[in-house]
């Protein structure tokens, strides 16, 4: 862990750290002193290893695990091609993994020589907010660390552009594409093209849905946005003591992240019987600080008695905070705020006593993505769907997260 921390110099890159710190826990005894590239590859090996030996291991350990493995696959995972939960404790930094195990050779994808071959990174949105900046930085840093030639593109929130970007990089000779899909659907064109050219496709962050596991894209890595919503609800229940007049600032309309974070939040309120939390207002603020502020201003005018705000990303939460501050209503004693992302600004707001909690959405997929790619094309394969672990910040760990740089 110490070694990794000193290796990264730029603060924005620090999310990478959080992740690699997590994954290196399992491998630290064996290879802390080894060069970083092998460490990360080692992690993937461990993960894949767990996966391939699953059946034997489950049978040997307990019937309980076997039952968990059999049923109850979340619908989002099914949509992304996951068919069965891989039992056994996943590597640190990974929440859960779902089979089948994808192997590049099954799609006719040849081995990749990381010392020579080119890899492509397709970002979906402008690197104008902390999440996207950290997301791209993580990929670029990991490629640099492994000394890999990396092409990069940015689709500026345009699905058609992302299709074009990916195909363009394939035409330039990229042997694999790691990409952050703009949405769960709409990239069929690029996926089909990659398949026809036998190029490995690794989606990160948002999953590609409507695919058969391993048949269209390679291993998918993502956060569980429904779970993020559920954890936000738990934090909200804890913060408010289960009684609140609550407003929800929704993300951009028509994006599955918004739907998932909303559905998870409401489902958890219901499951926890938090009927004292009354949702009085629910409006989109487009994931932006500007809209977060103006929508909250109107909210405060129409519902001056509101006591809590759930913002589906940090930027909207910070906009809401600005609106509250203008009215002299900032501070969790007056209005509780819980948001999702884990950016520095929001974590600082916890320290300042303005936010109750922030659920992290980890943008640093670089190390896991390259490790999964390696296992997929050169090793024993990688699980169809991997859900990575997201942190959670509140008063108890916010200052520490800022000091250590884990908040991005």
């Amino acid at each position: 862990m110490k070694i990794r921390r000193t290796a990264a110099t730029v603060t924005v890159a620090s999310m990478t750290l959080l992740f690699s710190c997590g994954s290196s826990k399992t491998t630290s005894t064996a290879s802390t002193s080894a060069n970083p590239a092998t460490t990360a590859a080692g992690t993937a090996g461990t993960a894949a290893g767990t996966a391939t030996t699953t059946s034997a291991a489950t049978a040997a350990t307990s019937a309980g695990t076997a039952a968990a493995a059999g049923g109850d696959i979340p619908s989002a995972i099914k949509a992304a091609g996951g068919t069965s939960k891989i039992a056994g404790a996943p590597a640190a930094g990974i929440e859960a993994q779902y089979g089948p195990i994808c192997k590049g050779a099954d799609l006719g994808i040849g081995k990749i020589d990381f010392t020579k071959d080119t890899i492509g990174w397709a970002q979906s949105e402008k690197e104008a907010n902390p999440f996207r900046i950290a997301s791209t930085k993580s990929q670029v840093d990991e490629a640099k660390k492994r000394n890999i030639k990396l092409l990069t593109t940015n689709a500026q929130s345009d699905a058609q552009q992302e299709n074009t970007d990916i195909k363009g990089m394939i035409d330039k000779g990229a042997k694999a594409i790691i990409f952050s899909p703009i949405n769960s659907t709409g990239l069929g064109d690029a996926i089909a093209y990659a398949k026809s050219k036998h190029v490995a496709m690794i989606p990160v962050d948002r999953n590609i849905t409507g695919v058969k596991g391993c048949a269209d894209v390679g291993p998918q890595l993502g956060s569980d946005f429904v779970l993020q919503g559920r954890r936000a609800a738990d934090a909200m229940i804890k913060a408010t003591g289960g009684t609140a007049k609550l407003a929800i600032l929704l993300g951009a309309s028509g994006v599955n992240v918004t739907d998932d974070r909303t559905a998870g939040f409401k489902a958890e309120l219901k499951d926890k019987n938090a009927s004292g939390i009354q949702i009085v207002f629910e409006q989109t603020a487009d994931f932006t600080r500007e809209k977060g502020k103006s929508v909250t201003e109107t909210l405060l005018q129409a519902h001056p008695d509101v006591t809590a705000i759930y913002a589906e990303n940090d930027e909207m939460g910070l906009g809401a905070l600005a609106a509250l501050d203008d009215k002299g209503m900032s501070g969790i004693a007056k209005v509780h705020i819980v948001s999702i992302d884990g950016t520095k600004g929001a974590v600082q707001a916890i320290v300042d006593g303005n936010f109750d909690a922030v659920i992290e959405s980890n943008p640093a997929y670089g190390p896991t993505a390259f490790a999964a790619l390696d296992a997929y094309v050169n090793g024993d394969g990688a699980p169809a769907v991997t859900i990575t672990t997201d942190n959670q910040y509140d008063k108890s760990n916010a200052q520490q997260a800022l000091d250590s740089g884990t908040a991005y």
Binding site: N129, I133, K293, Q301
Partner: protein
């Protein structure tokens, strides 16, 4: 103009009815505004308070100021699609100058930063005006180029990310009041008065309306078309910069990706709903103000009643169509 024509024609035929339709036609936006206010007074909780007015005064100035510039440009028969991007550029320039070195800024005094931001707006406006007047490029195309490129320029200036700004003067802009009325609203109102006087009482006003009415006739009448057009687009650029500064102060940050996003459409809507014809030759300042207030109030109303976003957008579209339909030129005049 057209409605006065209708009025005269109507007098000879069906006197009373034509009078009424003409009256309504000229005042469509005010009637719609009165209806929305009436609805709120009756049905919206916490509407009948000074707070409501204060919120409106805090949120309105940017769109109001941009609409004033847009009304002038539309009066010349042109259009300025670059206003939103210009707001972003002004915001980015302000941030670049005023932000401390730790945030990749130059740490200049706020006065210099504001001056540079306004200068940037002026430069954009002069560029637009020159392309339209001298280059004889259609305004929609000329200003479209900056709609597309301007935001990119702004992003390059700030380095892409949102920059938080803590200058005390921005807090004054955000919170300053005179007798309970927001300073920024006073600025917006002053701009509206100036534009109103400009249109009705100055040579520039007569000239821009003349160009909008019939450019060739204006040329023949000796109107200096080029300098007039450049001036009008320059005014629009500076107004957009002022709006960008106010929006930045309100947000406490420069966010070039989103500041002024889609502002061109809001401004055009305010102007058109306010009864100014897109073909030019006429500028209705008070109508534009009413149009801007109407659209803002409509959004606030739909939000306050927690109407889902998809429905809100349809309602807004319907009101725009209705207001414009009411004010269409009558057949007898056409």
């Amino acid at each position: 103009m057209t409605s006065t024509a209708a009025h005269t024609v109507g007098r000879s035929a069906t006197h009373g009815w034509e009078d009424i339709t003409s009256w309504v036609r000229q005042r469509g936006v005010y009637i719609a505004l009165a209806l929305v206010i009436l609805y709120n007074v009756i049905f919206t909780a916490h509407f009948n308070q000074w707070d409501t007015v204060q919120l409106l005064f805090a949120q309105m100035p940017p769109v109001l100021i941009v609409s004033m510039g847009m009304a002038l440009v539309i009066g010349t028969g042109g259009i300025d699609l670059s206003v939103g991007a210009t707001m972003a550029i002004a915001s980015a320039v302000l941030a670049k100058f005023v932000a401390p070195a730790s945030s990749h800024g130059l740490g200049s005094p706020i006065a210099l930063a504001i001056a540079m931001a306004l200068l940037a707006g002026l430069a954009v406006g002069v560029f637009n005006g020159t392309v339209v007047a001298v280059g004889r490029v259609q305004p929609i195309v000329a200003t479209l180029s900056l709609l597309v490129a301007g935001r990119g320029v702004a992003l390059v200036i700030t380095g892409g990310a949102l920059v938080e700004l803590f200058d005390p003067f921005l807090k004054v802009v955000r919170q300053g009041q005179v007798f309970g009325i927001a300073d920024v609203m006073i600025v917006a109102a002053a701009i509206a008065v100036v534009v109103s006087v400009l249109v009705r009482r100055t040579t520039l006003g007569y000239r821009l309306v003349a160009i909008g009415g019939n450019r060739r006739a204006a040329v023949l009448a000796g109107v200096p078309v080029r300098s007039t057009l450049i001036t009008v687009y320059a005014i629009s650029g500076v107004f957009a910069a002022v709006a960008g500064l106010i929006a930045t102060a309100r947000l406490r940050a420069s966010d070039p990706s989103y500041i002024g996003l889609l502002m061109e459409l809001s401004a055009i809507t305010a102007v058109v709903v306010g009864g100014t014809p897109l073909k030019g030759g006429q500028v209705r300042v008070l109508g534009t103000v009413a149009g801007a207030v109407l659209m803002q109030l409509l959004q606030t109303t739909l939000l306050a009643h927690n109407i889902p976003n998809s429905v809100s957008e349809m309602v807004e579209a319907l009101i725009i169509v209705a207001a414009v339909y009411i004010q269409r030129p009558s057949r007898s005049a056409a």
